[in-house]
Symmetry: D2
Subunit: 153 residues, 4 copies
C-alpha cells in the first residue's frame, strides 16, 4: 500500500546522500518523476554493495526489482543535494521490501526533515543464470536486520 503522508527522515535507518544532475530537471523545472526511482535504485544497491550482500559482477545471485511505487508530495530540483532514506519493511525467504523516501538535504534535525516523496521498492534474490528465486542467506539476513523498520511506518 502506498503511504499517503510524508514520512520523516528519522524514520529511516539508512541514509544515502544523492547528487542531482543537470538533466534530472525536466521541462517543468523539477526532478522528473523517474529520477526518484533512479535514486532509490542507486541507494538500495549501494547499501547492498557496501555491506557485501551483493557483488553484481561476480556473484551467482543478484537482486532483481519486481515492484516499485512512489508518491510525490513536493517538487525537488537540481542542483539541490538530496538524501534517500531506506529501511526494510518486510524480509521474506527470497524477497526484500524496502520503504524509501527522498529528502532535500538541509541543516535540520532528522525529526524535522519531511519527505518530498516516499516509495517502496521490492527486490527478489534470483540465480543470475536461470532467474529463479533463491533463499537469502544468513549473513545477508544479519545485514538486513540492521535496517528493519516498523511495518506501520
Amino acid at each position: 500500500m502506498t503511504r499517503k503522508q510524508p514520512p520523516l527522515l528519522s524514520q529511516f535507518p539508512y541514509h544515502f546522500e544523492a547528487q542531482t544532475r543537470w538533466d534530472d530537471n525536466d521541462i517543468y523545472g523539477h526532478l522528473n518523476n523517474t529520477v526518484h526511482y533512479r535514486l532509490f535504485d542507486t541507494a538500495v544497491n549501494s547499501f547492498l554493495v557496501q555491506n557485501n550482500v551483493l557483488d553484481f559482477r561476480n556473484s551467482e545471485h543478484v537482486y532483481l526489482v519486481i515492484e516499485t511505487g512512489c508518491t510525490y508530495f513536493a517538487e525537488l530540483a537540481y542542483p539541490d543535494p538530496l538524501i534517500v532514506g531506506v529501511g526494510i519493511a518486510h524480509l521474506g525467504n527470497s524477497s526484500v521490501r524496502y520503504h524509501t523516501a527522498l529528502f532535500k538535504k538541509g541543516g535540520k534535525s532528522p525529526d524535522e526533515v519531511v519527505a518530498a516523496a516516499a516509495g517502496h521498492f521490492v527486490h527478489v534474490n534470483v540465480n543470475k543464470e536461470n532467474r529463479q528465486p533463491v533463499s537469502i542467506d544468513t549473513a545477508s539476513r544479519d545485514i538486513f536486520s540492521k535496517i528493519m523498520i516498523n511495518q506501520s511506518s
Copy 2:
C-alpha cells in the same frame, strides 16, 4: 492498488508504440526498472498532446505526476519494440488515474498479448505558475472519457 496479475493488451483502449534504446539495458541485460516509468510518462503525455488536452509550452495549466507504481512480471530488453497500454481508471475533479502496462510488440491478437509490467500513473491538473489544482474542463473530460476502463481491470 497495485494489480498482481499481468493484464492483456486488449484491456487497454490506448496503445502507444515505444522504441527501446541501447542504454535502456542495464548491467543485468534487461530494461532497467526506471525505463518503464519513462515510457509510461511518454505514452500518457503523448496521448494528451495528440488530443490537444495538453500544450506543455503555452497553456496555463499542466499535468504533474503525484503517484506512480509498477509491478514487473517479465524482463524486457533493447532492441525489442514495445507497446504501452493506457486506460483511465478514475477521473476526478482535477486528477486522472491511469492504468498502464508494457507489452513486447508481436504478431498476436491483443487478447493473447500478456503484459510484462503493469503500473498506475496519477496526474493532477495544476496552474503552471502557482501549482494549485484546477478543475479539468469539459473538452478534456470528453477526450478522457474515450479511454476510460472498468476499475476492476
Copy 3:
C-alpha cells in the same frame, strides 16, 4: 574533425527512425545535448544488430566506444519524431568511424532535409573478456562497405 556545416539527410546511407521521450526535454524545453548521443548509440548498434555484425549477449567480441563528438545547429524537442543518419567515414583494422546526424522527420526530400546536429562516433572491436582490439572479420566488412561515405562529407 568536427564538421561545421549541417549535412543533408541524403548524405547518409543508413536512416534510423528515432522516437523522442517526455524526459528528453530538459529545463530549456529542448532535447538535452546528451540525448543526441543516446540516439547515435542506439542507431549504430541497431544497424549492427540488424545486420548480424553484433550479438551483444553471446558473441566473443563487442564494439566499445572510444570517441564521440557532436555539433548542435538547431534545437530539437519531444514529441517530434527524428531520423538518425549514419554512414561510415573510415574502416580500420579493428575500428569503425561513423558520421552521424540528427534530423527532424518531415515530408521533404532527403536532399532538402538539413541536419539539426551532426556528430561522429568511433567504435573499436574488442574481445569481450580482455578488452583487447580484434580485427574486424570479412563478413562484417562486407556489411560495413554498404554504408561507406565519402570522407569529405
Copy 4:
C-alpha cells in the same frame, strides 16, 4: 581538436565531485558513453550556478550547448565516485570553450591522477527568449578568468 593523450587532474583548475548511479552502467558493465556528457553538463552548470554566472530559472540569458566531444581512454563504472575536471580553453565574445575530463576519485596527488576520459564542451550565451547570442558581461568574465587554462593543455 580532440586531445588524444589522457590529461592529469592537476591540469584542471575546477574539480567537481560526481556520484555515479546504478543505471549509469550499461550492459557492458561500465559507464555508458553518454553518462560522461551528463556529468560534464552537470559540472559546468554547477560551476556557473555556484558563481552566480547563471540563474537558469530567472535570468534573461542562458548558456546553450553548441558543441561537445569526448575521447574514452579507460572504462569507468558505478559505484565508483568520480571527479570532473573543468577548465576554460577559450573565452569569446558570447561563447566559452571548456576542456573537461573524468577521473576515478582516489587518494593520489592530482599530478598522478590520469583521466579516464577527456572532452570539450562549448557554451554560447543567448537571450532566453529569442535564442540570439549576447555578449558575456564583465562580472562573468572575471569568474571565467579564474579557471582559464593554457590552450595547449
